[in-house]
């Protein structure tokens, strides 16, 4: 009889009645064949594997993470609350030691959803991992968390949310941004001025195969995780690096994903993208579940799996080795960079940027200001406007904010009242409070 080495929790929520649009990749059918495979393999009958019903996330859970404009219900559907709730269920089960690890096989995904949400980007509305993590921090006092994003697309939403958080290590491996949506995630993107080195990007050339993914896992991700010493490792387990995925250009396999999971040893995995719904997802998901449970996955293969046909070229190998070397160099010097940034003599750091919401066709412009604070990670102020004429002010007082940063946050908020904002929002992570003032 099969017995899991690690007690493993599963939330399976395929949202069989929800789609972005009838022919969109994010549609009802997406996890149908995965469900078939998981059920046919009898995975939930394995001793030590438990299937849980997802919780429904609350608006308060979202408000710990996002500024939804104009409000939560305008940018989400119930399905998003269940998807985030499913991730939360797994997080709770792990924290309460009902299981050793868990996998939330849910949709819709979330890793392109940033701090400010005007609509959907890259099929994502709210960041389900961040919602889970901030819930676990609040409920169980978890501090250091690492997120390893293995989706083929750069997890730019998660990166944005944790850009200024030195307690959250965000590592993303993905197809090079020059060749794929969302076009970001270069190896020199290392985190904001008060959190340098807590963001790590590993861009991989198109046609990277298992060899390359496992190389960076062993030579970049693992050593960094071992040094960071997180209390929780969360895997944003996108599955679109697969050699059959219709919207990407990689050569990864079910065997490779399972091995990667085994190397990563995540406490919590959350499904992200993956749109080869028949040829990849059924096998990749079974592989990941078995690897999480510590069971043999050697026979989990795609029907058309031929490792020789999906080998990466020598050029690809060389490019991966080079970028890995550079990243490890950055990582080695992160304290030096941090010192330099903190001692720049400036009280504030500003950045201007544009964010495109491809799914909803919205162009957002942000002016972001952070206080370079010697005592905390710094209060953040975002002046966000969209091409549809909406302009809001969003202020985030971080979880460990010092008194001065907290006060400044509220001062900014009050000062904003005299400016031309359609809404003013404030997240006070110290008190776990959220204020929204909408003018129209």
């Amino acid at each position: 009889m099969l017995r899991a080495k690690h007690k493993t929790g599963l939330v399976f929520f395929p949202a069989f009645d929800w789609a972005i649009s009838p022919t969109h990749p994010e549609r009802e059918e997406r996890l149908l064949y995965t469900q078939d495979q998981v059920f046919e393999e009898g995975v939930t009958d394995i001793d030590g594997v438990f299937e849980f019903k997802p919780d429904i996330a609350t608006v308060q859970d979202i408000r710990r993470v996002h500024f939804c404009v104009p409000d939560e219900w305008k940018v989400i559907t119930e399905s998003h609350l269940i998807s985030a709730g499913g991730a939360k269920t797994i997080g709770i089960s792990v924290m309460e030691k009902k299981v050793d690890r868990g996998f939330a096989l849910v949709r819709p995904p979330g890793h392109h959803a940033m701090r400010v949400v005007h609509g959907a980007r890259g099929f994502c509305n709210i960041n389900i991992e961040a919602i889970m993590i901030e819930y676990l921090r609040r409920k169980y006092g978890v501090n250091r968390v690492a997120i390893v994003d293995t989706d083929c697309h750069h997890g730019d939403g998660t990166q944005d949310i944790y850009w200024h958080d030195p307690d959250t290590l965000f590592i993303s491996m993905h197809q090079d941004g020059r060749t794929l949506y969302p076009g970001t995630g270069f190896h020199y993107e290392l985190g904001g001025p008060t959190a340098i080195g807590s963001t790590i990007n590993i861009p991989l050339p198109p046609r990277t195969s298992a060899e390359g993914f496992l190389y960076v896992t062993e030579n970049v991700v693992r050593p960094i995780l071992d040094e960071f010493k997180p209390e929780l490792v969360v895997n944003s387990a996108g599955q679109d690096n697969h050699y059959t995925d219709p919207i990407t250009n990689m050569l990864f396999s079910a065997q490779g994903y399972a091995r990667l999971t085994e190397l990563l040893q995540p406490d919590i995995a959350v499904l992200e993208g993956g749109y080869s719904i028949e040829g990849a997802l059924p096998y990749v998901n079974v592989g990941i579940i078995l690897a999480m449970a510590g069971l043999d996955y050697s026979k989990v293969q795609e029907p058309d799996y031929e490792p020789e046909k999906i080998k990466q070229s020598r050029d690809v190998t060389r490019m991966i080795e080079t970028v890995s070397g550079q990243i490890m160099q950055y990582w080695g010097k992160r304290r030096e960079y941090h010192e330099k940034s903190m001692n720049s003599g400036k009280e504030f750091s500003d950045r201007d940027r544009s964010v495109y919401y491809d799914t909803d066709d919205i162009m957002e412009t942000q002016k972001e200001r952070i206080r370079i604070c010697p005592d905390c990670s710094g209060v953040v102020r975002i002046d966000s406007s969209t091409d549809s004429g909406r302009r809001i002010l969003a202020i985030r007082i971080p979880r460990k904010a010092c008194k001065k940063c907290s006060e400044l946050g509220y001062e900014w908020c009050e000062a904003g009242a005299s400016e031309d904002f359609g809404g003013i929002y404030l997240q006070d992570a110290v008190r776990d409070q959220y204020f929204a003032h909408k003018k129209n």
């Binding site: 399976f12 059918e29 149908l32 849980f52």
Partner: protein, 568 residues
């Protein structure tokens, strides 16, 4: 008139019913080593002096197959499994004659790797030479395309006594359970066949030719001939008999909890608007997780004859039974003895009961009466707690659509039906302890046999339609037909119902007793490259477990019937 017979762990109950109620009821001790004798004694007794032509049917619920599995008295079975990629099929080895063979079908039912005929022929000759007469064949995703199982069956030829194909068992997914279920069916086949043929022959010798039905774990019946082919269906029919026996007494609108308090165990089930709740996948028993359709039941090791003791300073009841209560000459104090001390039961040796409880009372620092009260209270509370756990388990069943999750349907019974030996005494205490509306099932001592007698024929089918592949299939019915692109949900449901009716009639249902229900009905558009290329439709329908119409009217009369000479 009709006969219902239920073999229990201690007694075998038989009833003869006519339009007006119970004509006769018989209780004979069950001889576990010779069940045939017990069944025959019961049948002989209940039919004594009854003209053979006046009996229209008999339904038997026995522990035969359950015992085979529980006691590992299983016939050697050759298992041939073709898995394709996935979990190593070695993990599901059923015994010595287990062969993981080539051949693979994917989730859509497409052939990935063919069967290797030479490999199967070699296995067949090996099984023949080793004297294995019973074979199970199970393929991963065979319910999406039975081709490989059928090919293997053909290669095996007619040399074996019994060959069971996985896709005929159930339309539900789960390859490991398909293997286990095929194995269990094949492994109990010869014992089951011998037994039932003996029953039929014995009856025939006495001139009884009425049709025999066998009760299944889902609370439905199947004809004798069908039961021979799928003997595994009769596993764990005991709890189902009691639940069916309680059915006439559940109120229509409510959700009801059924508690069958027996000697060794208490079995629990849930009725929703007068229909028993089914297990979503299938029976778990004796280490076998199967696809055998069953009522959702929960059994705890606490009954009237469970041993009472103090362990680590705390009161502990069961899960063992060492014999009857001390009041009936047993060796150890039981819950029944507590009832004697409390003056609730009579007809036994009260002094023996008191003697049994005295050392417990001393340890508890209480009087014997107080101790008895606490024991009884503890037993009732433990049962109610287990019932609450079971309901929580039912309510935590995952759902897969936004609609169902938000809808959040929760089972919340407001009514409890109690049956089994000490039913009335437990019922009173349950009523005192909870807010439930508690009722004792009339004829609680033979409700199981009545349930068997009145149960209608049930069955289920699952229809899969894949319009892109142009196929409609009903695996259990060996139905695999091409369809046109315009085949839609409406047509699917219509086809499913039609095939269900045919199956039910073949299984022995009365044409007037086809209470059909749509269990699942989903449709997915298949989109490939931004175009809809087809539809996947899945429909699951069943004949609901329930009581045969013809005898529905007698339920009311059962309430007024007063059994004579029944043992409390």
């Amino acid at each position: 008139m009709i006969i219902g017979l239920d073999v229990g762990g201690t007694n075998t109950d038989v009833v003869l019913l006519n339009d007006e109620g119970i004509v006769r009821q018989v209780k004979v001790p069950t001889n576990q080593t010779d069940l045939l004798h017990s069944v025959w004694m019961g049948l002989e007794e209940v039919t004594r002096d009854i003209p053979p032509e006046s009996i229209h049917r008999a339904v038997l619920s026995t522990t035969l197959t359950t015992n085979c599995v529980a006691e590992c008295k299983l016939t050697p079975v050759g298992m041939i499994v073709s898995s394709g990629p996935g979990i190593d099929p070695e993990c599901y080895r059923t015994g010595e004659h287990y062969f993981a063979v080539a051949g693979s079908i994917d989730h859509r039912g497409r052939e990935i790797q063919p069967v290797d005929a030479a490999e199967i022929e070699a296995i067949a000759s090996r099984l023949r030479s080793e004297g294995v007469r019973h074979v199970g064949v199970a393929g991963k995703f065979s319910i999406r395309n039975p081709k490989h199982e059928l090919q293997i069956e053909e290669i095996l030829g007619s040399d074996f006594d019994y060959v069971i194909l996985g896709h005929r068992i159930s339309g539900n997914l789960s390859f490991p359970r398909r293997i286990a279920t095929a194995h269990v069916n094949a492994a109990v086949y010869p014992t089951h066949k011998r037994f039932f043929e003996a029953v039929r022959d014995s009856l025939a010798r006495k001139g009884f030719t009425f049709p025999i039905y066998v009760l299944k774990a889902d609370g439905g019946t199947i004809s004798f001939d069908t039961a021979l082919d799928y003997p595994g269906q009769s596993i764990l029919s005991g709890p189902a008999a009691s639940v069916m026996g309680s059915l006439p007494f559940a109120s229509d609108a409510e959700e009801t909890l059924v508690l069958d308090v027996g000697g060794t165990t208490t079995d629990m089930a849930v009725l929703i608007r007068n229909a028993p709740l089914l297990d979503p996948v299938g029976i778990d028993m004796g280490g076998f997780k199967t696809l055998i359709r069953a009522l959702k039941t929960q059994s705890i090791g606490l009954g009237g004859e469970s041993v009472v003791r103090i362990a680590d300073g705390a009161l502990k009841i069961g899960p063992d039974r060492q014999g009857p209560a001390m009041a009936y000459g047993g060796p150890a104090p039981t819950v029944t003895d507590a009832l004697f001390v409390l003056g609730q039961l009579s007809g036994g040796d009260v002094d023996a009961a008191r003697r049994g409880l005295t050392p417990l009372a001393e340890k508890m620092g209480a009087s014997v009466e107080e101790a008895a009260d606490r024991i009884f209270d503890h037993a009732c509370k433990t049962i109610m707690r287990a019932a609450a756990d079971m309901i929580a388990d039912v309510n935590s069943k995952p759902v897969y659509t936004v609609h169902e999750l938000l809808d959040g349907y929760q089972v919340k019974p407001t009514e409890v039906l109690v049956l089994g030996g000490p039913a009335p005494y437990f019922a009173m205490r349950f009523a005192a302890l909870t807010d439930f509306h508690v009722t004792v099932v009339p004829q609680w001592q033979v409700a199981n046999a009545i349930g068997a007698a009145l149960a209608r024929t049930t069955c289920e089918i699952t229809l899969f339609v894949d319009t892109e592949r142009g196929i409609a299939s009903i695996p259990e019915e060996a139905y695999y037909q091409p369809i046109k692109k315009d085949f839609d949900r409406e047509k699917a449901i219509e086809l499913a119902y039609e095939m269900l009716r045919q199956k039910a009639l073949r299984f022995g249902a009365e044409p007037g007793d086809l209470d059909v229900e749509l269990l699942e009905d989903v449709e997915f558009n298949m989109v490939r490259g931004f175009y809809t290329t087809g539809r996947i439709i899945r429909v699951r329908v069943q004949i609901k477990p329930g009581l045969i119409h013809q005898y529905r009217s007698i339920a009311g009369m059962l309430t007024s019937y007063c059994p004579i000479g029944a043992r409390s």
